[in-house]
């Protein structure tokens, strides 16, 4: 017989197992990125102009690029475990750790705001459409959802920016800044736009999930108990309908954070995404590795958090 203590024990065990799996995943990401990167033609020194073979050799020796690949890999891994991602090849005197420390918080805030917006909006609109099935609100929202899913975020980013320009010009005051970063008002538009696609997707999911449990036996039980409709909706319907939404939140976080650099670019936000793209163009090995591994670890961690959250909402998952 299970009691609450063995429940808790099982939950902690589950959490530890998921964390170990996560660490292995991150190692695989690091390894795959490392070898893929070194197999791409060129190296970080290619961009240096008019380098004589001797200087090039010296530079390669300085950075350790002349050593066997496996040895480089070993050095890299041991540094990484100590939390040292090395120094950028392309940008003078900047360590990758510094770049991440400085720019990741910006991306993270943008990403988290987007996810919160997408999840709240998705659940709200999904529930709304399900309650008003085949009536006007449902039809309108579902049309917008199809747009939200099919139109890429850079289009919305440009449209959103243009709308802001026009509205600000029309009103004569700046209600929301058009670009840049710094205050809360800077964050609203970009995070809305970044979360839009995910929100559309979650709305659809929430709607179908609500409709699926619409005829559930336990809802009939709740009605037979004479409970008020709001209580039935919140306690019996919503909580059960939300389960599939939580399941896809993990992958959604992946989609949002990796998709973020486009929105960052359009709105001139100093996030990590820009450095990531730049580094790939410049074959800046350490920055590529650093940002990839960091992003990877972050996403794996978020997926684990979502899994654990799922266990809190759905008691049946805890004992697995």
């Amino acid at each position: 017989m299970a009691n609450s203590r063995t429940n808790k024990h099982a939950y902690v065990r589950y959490a530890v197992i998921r964390l170990i799996q996560g660490a292995i995943t991150v190692w695989l990401i690091a390894t795959a990125t490392f070898f893929a990167m070194h197999n791409v033609p060129g190296d970080p020194l290619m961009d240096e102009k008019a380098v004589s073979p001797e200087i090039r050799k010296n530079l390669q020796a300085k950075y350790g690029l002349d050593r066997p690949l496996l040895e480089q890999y070993g050095i890299y891994l041991s540094n990484m475990i100590r939390g040292d991602f090395g120094i950028s090849y392309a940008q003078e005197n900047r360590s990758v750790n510094d770049i991440i420390r400085e720019h990741f918080p910006v991306s993270a805030i943008l990403g988290v705001l987007s996810i919160v917006f997408a999840a709240l909006g998705g659940i709200l609109f999904g529930a709304l459409t399900a309650i008003n099935r085949n009536r006007l609100p449902d039809i309108v929202i579902m049309f917008l959802v199809i747009m939200g899913i099919s139109v890429p975020s850079f289009v919305f980013a440009a449209l959103g920016q243009m709308t802001l320009v026009n509205v600000n010009a029309f009103l004569g005051v700046s209600i929301l800044p058009v670009a840049g970063w710094g205050s809360v008002s800077h964050m609203i538009m970009p995070s809305l736009i970044l979360g839009l696609g995910t929100m559309a997707f979650l709305t659809r999911l929430m709607r179908s999930s609500m409709l699926e449990i619409d005829n559930a036996d336990y809802l009939r039980t709740a009605i037979s108990k004479g409970l008020p409709p709001t209580r039935i909706f919140l306690r019996h319907q919503l909580r059960n309908a939300i389960l599939p939404v939580i399941t896809v939140l993990g992958p959604s976080i992946a989609a949002i954070t990796t998709g973020g650099f486009v929105v960052e670019l359009v709105f001139a936000i100093p996030g990590l995404g820009r450095y990531f793209v730049q580094a790939v163009q410049q074959s800046d090995y350490t920055v590529i590795m650093g940002t990839t591994v960091f992003y990877g670890a972050f996403l794996v961690f978020m997926v684990i958090v979502v899994d654990l959250l799922y266990g809190l909402v759905d008691p049946r998952v805890r004992l697995d």
Binding site: M1, S4, T221, I223, S224, R231, R235, V313
Partner: protein, 334 residues
């Protein structure tokens, strides 16, 4: 006057190109502290009838076109009394066929039992949970103190049905509607659940409306029986009336299709031939006409009216008309 009285209930469901007349005249009643069994084959309208009374059918597509349901003389059709007072969970409670899916999987069993107390009686969460534990103890669930904090997936089917009963009787309702409460359970558990219901009925003086198609359960539990066929109550009476003084050919058919445990019994079971009528397009006359061995000319086009066979014993069959010449020995006529 009966405690709960349902008369002439008609319910239909809108479907593509028309409507299905699921209930076409159901009348039944139950007295305080007694048990009414509603029997009949699948699709005859048993469940729809009681769910309409409780306001559990979805409207649309469902629609109650005629009839009344009165609790102590007060109209309660649809689960709400005059003035909007909620009678579900307080005066009438219901348990269902499949306990596995009838409880909310993401709420503890205790919280679900406590819910009606919090909503209808204004209990605090703590009081309600304490009472939930007592209720689980009353329904003979071992370790109730720890069980109230568990989730439905941690319970067996029998325990879930006990929990459903605990939840239903939380506010001491005067009527408990049990819609095939033991169909999904194995035989030994069935018996325990029925015993439990009888015990609780005695202590709370509660009326039970029991829907079943198990005539054995009827014989054991019921004071009165209503036999339903094709959306109509075709025969009503005491349990002895129905079993020993059957007054409708369909009741006779059901009885001869029932296996016995008499020693040395060798005769085969006699099924009722044919199938019940399509309620999308119900026949003009008696719904049992095509299957009835005693069918007469009048039955084809003229729906039979309800005849009083005896005191509190009624049959919806033309055989009871005073001008009927056909004598059927198996059909009881006083």
């Amino acid at each position: 006057m009966a405690l709960l009285e349902v008369s002439d209930l008609h319910v239909e469901f809108a479907v593509q190109g028309g409507s299905v007349q699921a209930v076409r005249g159901a009348s039944f009643s139950v007295n305080e502290g007694e048990t009414l069994a509603i029997v009949g084959e699948s699709g005859c309208g048993k469940t729809v009838s009681v769910q309409s009374v409780m306001g559990l059918i979805q409207t649309p597509p469902g629609r109650i076109t005629r009839g009344t349901a009165k609790l102590r003389g007060q109209d309660i059709l649809g689960g709400v009394a005059a003035g909007g007072r909620e009678i579900r969970g307080t005066d009438i409670a219901m348990i269902f066929q499949d306990p596995m899916s009838s409880l909310n999987p993401t709420m503890t069993v205790g919280a679900q039992i406590a819910e009606p107390l919090i909503v209808h009686r204004g209990y605090s969460h703590r009081q309600a949970m304490r009472r939930a534990q007592e209720l689980l103890e009353m329904t003979l669930i071992p370790d109730a103190a720890s069980r109230i904090n568990e989730y439905p997936f941690e319970f067996s089917g029998g325990m879930l049905q006990r929990s459903m009963i605990a939840m239903a009787i939380a506010c001491e309702p005067s009527v408990l509607i049990a819609d095939e409460p033991t169909t999904a359970l194995d035989v030994t558990i069935q018996s325990q659940i029925l015993d439990l219901m009888v015990d609780l009925q005695r202590t709370n003086n509660m009326a039970i409306v029991l829907i079943t198609h198990d005539l054995g359960v009827v014989a054991r539990m019921a004071n009165d029986v209503a036999v339903m066929y094709a959306g109509e109550v075709v025969e009503r009476g005491t349990v002895d009336d129905i079993f020993y003084r059957s007054a409708h050919p369909y009741t006779l058919g059901l009885k001869s299709a029932m296996p016995t445990n008499r020693q040395g019994a060798v005769q085969k079971l006699t099924p009722i031939e044919g199938a019940p009528p399509d309620l999308f397009d119900p026949p003009p006359g008696c719904g049992y006409y095509t299957r009835c061995p005693y069918a007469m000319e009048v039955c084809e086009a003229t729906p039979p009216i309800v005849f009083d066979v005896d005191r509190a014993h009624q049959s919806r069959c033309w055989l009871h008309h005073k001008d009927c010449l056909q004598q059927v020995t198996q059909i009881y006529r006083p």
